[in-house]
């Protein structure tokens, strides 16, 4: 165990400032609200600008056109996620980066050249199916495959031109890059608790693809899918900590401005103690998320444990912090007009996406018990 230094580099600090001012200028909350009624939940031109700053490039290798600020792309990307969480930004952050990373790591040159330039420029939005709900059968020779089944929850599934889907079959888990306009693919947009992040159900009715659609090796996609899921969970945790930090800030301001019985609400000890707890939840969330990101990047044998611990803790305390902020705001906190519900929607989405806290705890128990068997 070596000491890990979490201190941000100068480049990362500068990038954070750039990302924050970009989001504050181009997608303030009023703008985000105005995008609620758009089918895709965001503005394509805005996403291209975001991509230009680097929102989709940190998990992509330099030779493939990406690059990281610190040598740890996931750490850099956490900054994006946290800043987007602060302003409940829309946009396909998770699928774009998960797919970009996967393509950069495992794709053939042809696939890379087909997909990466579009993802990196923001012109192309990829979809990512987090589950394994699709079956694959080999069609005749081993160069053709038939995909059958439904992916029930695909972020940006209706905005994507192409999706990454994991299928199970006699050969094992295999990942495919499938154009959504391929014959047999049906896309059904869904409606969710978050007002600007979009999901869809994808049905694969005997979709025929050939070997050029396979990402990585046939039957060997287990570790890749696991890594993608851990990356997605860490990004969600970071986005939630961003939301928590912003909510705590404006709650502190509000309680400082608002007076009851001649004194600011923030001078009442019971309220101060709530706020102290909220600060603890925020810093603990940040700490465990940063540890988890390091472990995922380094692919240590504790990576899944740390990610599950982060997802369980941040999931639970992210929603708790925002609900507590609603309580501290009083009646205004449950109105449409106040921004709190935008944050509550986002942290609630992240809390359950990719597993609930209870599911993460169950998996942590399994891992702890497995360790006893092997130690």
């Amino acid at each position: 165990m070596t000491a890990v230094d979490f201190a941000p580099t100068d480049d990362q600090e500068l990038f954070r400032a750039t990302a924050r001012s970009f989001l504050e200028r181009e997608a303030p909350l009023a703008t985000v609200r105005s995008w609620i009624d758009r089918p895709d939940g965001f503005d394509a031109g805005w996403w291209r600008q975001a991509a230009e700053i680097g929102f989709t490039s940190f998990l992509v290798s330099e030779e493939a056109g990406g690059g990281s600020l610190s040598g740890r792309g996931l750490d850099d990307l956490l900054i994006v996620a946290e800043e987007m969480g602060r302003l409940v930004s829309p946009g396909p952050l998770v699928p774009a980066n998960v797919v970009a990373g996967a393509v950069s790591t495992s794709a053939t040159r042809q696939q890379r050249e087909r997909l990466l330039p579009g993802i990196l420029s923001g012109d192309h939005v990829p979809g990512w199916c987090s589950g394994v709900e699709v079956e694959v059968v080999v069609d005749g020779d081993d160069h053709h495959f038939v995909l059958r089944g439904g992916a029930s929850l695909v972020e940006a599934g209706a905005q994507a031109q192409e999706v990454l889907v994991t299928a199970t079959g006699s050969a094992g888990l295999t990942q495919f890059l499938v154009p959504v306009d391929a014959p047999g693919v049906t896309v059904t947009p869904l409606v969710g608790i978050d007002l600007v992040r979009r999901f869809a159900r994808l049905d694969f009715g005997d979709v025929r693809v050939d070997r050029s659609s396979v990402l990585g090796q046939v039957g060997r996609a287990g570790p890749a899918l696991q890594h993608q899921r851990l990356v997605a969970l860490v990004l969600q945790c970071s986005e939630t900590t961003g939301a928590m930090s912003r909510v705590l800030e404006f709650t502190l301001d509000y309680l400082g401005d608002r007076y009851a019985a001649g004194r600011p609400l923030s001078s009442y000890q019971v309220l101060k103690h709530y706020l102290a707890d909220m600060k603890l939840w925020l810093e603990a969330s940040r700490g465990v998320t940063a540890l988890a990101a390091r472990a995922v990047h380094d692919q240590t044998d504790e990576a899944e444990e740390l990610v599950r611990a982060a997802a369980a803790y941040v999931g639970e305390h992210g929603t708790e912090l925002v609900q507590k902020a609603v309580q501290l705001h009083g009646g205004i906190g449950i109105t449409w007009e106040h921004d709190l519900h935008l944050y509550l929607r986002r942290v609630s989405l992240n809390r359950n996406l990719g597993g609930t806290p209870a599911e993460h705890l169950e998996r942590l128990a399994e891992l702890s018990l497995q360790q006893l068997e092997t130690s």
Binding site: K272, K279, A358, E362, L364
Partner: protein
């Protein structure tokens, strides 16, 4: 003086040499050590510390003038990482090293440091802090113990309580009031107290679990030399504030002076999940409710590790103030409560009624009964929340009836002793 950087071995070299020395000299742990300061452990602690001293690994971050190695904190961290499989003097970590040694280095004169620091590093002296008083609770500055100047001495009178294992200790840092005509925080001083001095009486307190982790002390005309004063006269609150910050570092696991595992914050270093061990031994590892608790235990330990890193880096880089150590204290107190509760719940019926001689089950029950201790000692969780809200978040301070009032005019608890 530290050795110039170019002559120093690298952290990696130091880690390798430490690992080799530890393997050759220190006993390997045969079971997970626990935070439990039984009455009979202290001679062993002195012996283990002496082994570190003889091996040249005592006081890694302590200046060389006072017997240490004068190395940066990375070397201490590397040593601790190497030391995890071995028995080290865990119980000296807090308070002797993380709190007392750190405070002596902050405020001691050259002579005081020469007189006391090497003895600590050799394992010759174990220290305790005398802060809390029977009347004061977590309000440490409401100190009624007095030190009066009499010719070329200070004369100490009063009582302290909740000092850890004072019976086994040799010296104390003692907070006393030296000026009653100024407000609460401005009339205090800190003294180095030899516990063998005439007039010092130490009585162990029997806790709910039968242990004597804490003591109370009485001082009757204890005569101290002038050089027993640590820091400036009437500036004792400055010393105490530093001391409390070091305490939070010690409890949270970020002290640069502690070697070995931090038993006060076990999650930060231990890999094994104690709840998983318990669930398996009870045969309930397949029970879904038990598994939620086992998972929660692991989550709690890993989150603690993340928080330790977050707070230490935050304080070092300035994104968090030093008082953010209160976040660690608040977290570890809550985690400790949950740890005992999880164990008690997993144990079920068999955890509240057991066969005679089942020591393990009895200890688990005792821990549950005393589970609030970590949320009380070293400043209650309520005090930590005050610190976080006022000093970390900058919220308005609590109204204090004793602010800016000469201390002799401040009302005391009805049973408190006054002058």
């Amino acid at each position: 003086m530290s050795p110039p950087e170019e002559q120093r071995e690298s952290v990696e070299q130091f880690a390798r040499r430490s690992g080799e020395w530890l393997a050759a000299n220190m006993p390997r742990l045969t079971s997970e050590p626990v935070h439990e300061r039984r009455d009979d452990i202290w001679d062993r602690q002195r012996e283990l510390q002496r082994m570190l001293w003889d091996g040249g690994f005592a006081g890694i971050c302590v200046p060389r003038d006072y017997g240490g190695l004068g190395l940066p904190v990375e070397y201490q961290r590397a040593f601790t990482a190497e030391s995890l499989p071995y028995e080290l003097p865990f119980y000296l970590g807090t308070p002797t090293f993380s709190i007392i040694l750190a405070t002596l280095l902050d405020f001691g004169t050259h002579e005081q440091k020469l007189a006391h620091v090497p003895g600590i590093l050799r394992g010759d002296t174990i220290w305790v802090q005398f802060l809390s008083e029977p009347s004061g609770g977590s309000d440490l500055a409401a100190c009624l113990t007095r030190a009066d100047r009499r010719e070329d001495t200070w004369v100490l009178n009063g009582a302290k309580i909740w000092s850890s294992a004072a019976e086994a200790c040799d010296f104390a840092l003692c907070l006393a009031r030296t000026n009653w005509d100024v407000p609460k925080h401005r009339g205090l001083s800190v003294f180095i107290l030899d516990l063998r001095a005439p007039g010092v009486t130490i009585e162990p307190i029997t806790q709910v679990n039968g242990n004597h982790t804490f003591c109370q002390e009485f001082f009757d005309d204890v005569v101290l030399p002038l050089d027993a004063l640590l820091g400036e006269v009437d500036q004792g609150w400055t010393v105490t504030t530093a001391l409390l910050t070091h305490e939070r570092e010690g409890v949270g696991g970020s002290s640069p002076y502690v070697s070995g595992r931090n038993l006060l914050a076990p999650g930060s270093t231990v890999r094994t999940n104690p709840a998983a061990v318990l669930a398996r031994s009870l045969g309930i590892a397949d029970d879904p409710v038990a598994r939620q608790l086992v998972g929660e235990q692991r989550m709690s330990d890993l989150v603690q590790r993340g928080l330790v890193e977050r707070v230490s880096v935050g304080v070092r880089t300035g994104s968090l103030p030093p008082s953010a150590a209160a976040l660690l204290k608040l977290y570890t107190a809550g985690a400790s409560v949950r740890r005992t509760e999880i164990a008690a719940t997993l144990a079920g019926e068999g955890g509240v009624v057991w066969s005679p001689g089942d020591v393990e089950t009895q200890e688990r029950a005792d821990k549950y009964l005393i589970r609030q201790a970590d949320s009380i000692s070293g400043g209650t969780s309520e005090i930590q929340r005050n610190i976080i809200s006022e000093r970390v978040l900058g919220l308005p301070r609590e109204l204090a009836a004793d602010r800016d009032v000469p201390y002799r005019e401040v009302r005391q608890s009805s049973r408190a002793r006054t002058d």
